[in-house]
Symmetry: C2
Subunit: 202 residues, 2 copies
DNA sequence: CGTCAACTTTACATGATGTAAAGAAAAGGA
DNA sequence: TCCTTTTCTTTACATCATGTAAAGTTGACG
């Protein structure tokens, strides 16, 4: 019985994973645009209906894909590294650096979720959850600054977090890189500088 | 013949305007979400098909609505007032002020166009045109700063414009007001302060 | 050999956009 | 008054993606 269950779940995982992997790659390639359920199915080598055996709808497939990406990318670890910094300023810089390197990898799926957010309740909730996590990261960096007494005067922790959170948002990244043409390197460098000028006592 | 043409175009304008007005109000009320062609038609008191007699498709109706809004709101005038400022810093502040008061009025239609942008070429082009106009406004403000020799060292006009343009973008406004809960007044006040800290020599 | 789960295949419902075409109604011109 | 043209209505239909439903196939396991 145990053996059978094991093999069963291995098999389920296999197809399921293939679907998730296909979704990921297609979303990455298409920058989150124009990826249909049938495309994902075809790429995974299964019928369109088989996808619905594993995921109830498109929104949940996208959400599951983000979770899968988090696992594979070890997102938490990468973003948590900044916690090791000594000073608040170092921590802020490390967080921006990690985020700047991470964001391009998840942009495809992020954009697809963002588009669903407007029409799908589930997608909105899932997206908000992820963004709240980012906000917490921003808040931690701001609090580290404050602890060093390096937070710019006239800024509350909340407002400073709001600002950092917004300039680090996916939409702002999209604007800086796609509309303004900033490279990943420039993005990281300039965001650090912007955050420093805005948030750190001079 | 002239008279007839005149009366004709007056009549066309009437229904046409009613459609544009309805589109505007619905988009404003629905914050750009879930507004269908049939909703607009119903609100304008015409059949859905009649809308297609005046606008070839949804994208063009949305675009025409923005143009209509610009006319009614006298957008250019309002945004151009900042040109009267004496110093670069005043000009920057005036531009942000005008923008901060203007954006909430066009957010509904802006969001609808933004959503179409991902799938519709026409919508993308129309949107990009409008945003390039905003960019020019930002660039003018930055150049005014530079003329006063008040542009922060290490910042080129281009990069400074990129930054201002991004923090003033519709997406950033959306984030500050909807996600962070900033009021219009706070938004204007804080954006001025952010722009000042980032762009102006200290 | 039979069972069960995973998967395929086919068919269909939905909901929005957009096309097509025939007919009604109103308004102007002669 | 009558004719013509424009505007709008009505009805019908094509399309496209999502999602539901159900019957049939396949392969592993006991």
């Amino acid at each position: 019985m145990y053996v059978r269950l094991y093999i069963m779940s291995r098999k389920i995982m296999d197809t399921r994973t293939r679907i998730l992997e296909s979704a990921w790659k297609l979303l990455e390639a298409g920058q989150g645009q124009g990826v249909r359920m049938s495309d994902i199915a075809k790429a995974a080598g299964v019928s369109r209906q088989a996808v619905y055996l594993h995921f109830p709808n498109r929104a949940e497939l996208l959400i599951a894909t983000t979770r899968y990406l988090d696992e594979v990318n070890k997102t938490d670890e990468r973003l948590a590294q900044s916690r090791g910094a000594r000073t608040g300023e170092e921590r802020l810089a490390a967080y921006i650096e990690a985020w700047g390197n991470y964001l391009p990898e998840i942009y495809g799926i992020a954009k697809a979720l963002l588009a669903m957010k407007d029409t799908d309740k589930e997608a909105e909730i899932a997206w908000n959850n992820r963004m709240q996590a980012v906000r917490h990261g921003c808040e931690a960096a701001v609090k580290a600054l404050k602890k060093d007494d390096m937070l710019a005067p006239g800024l509350s922790v909340t407002v400073a977090t709001d600002i950092l959170w917004t300039i680090m948002s996916v939409r702002s990244w999209e604007h800086f890189t796609m509309e303004c043409g900033w490279s990943k390197k420039k993005y990281i460098e300039r965001l650090k500088s912007m955050a420093h000028r805005m948030l750190v006592k001079s």
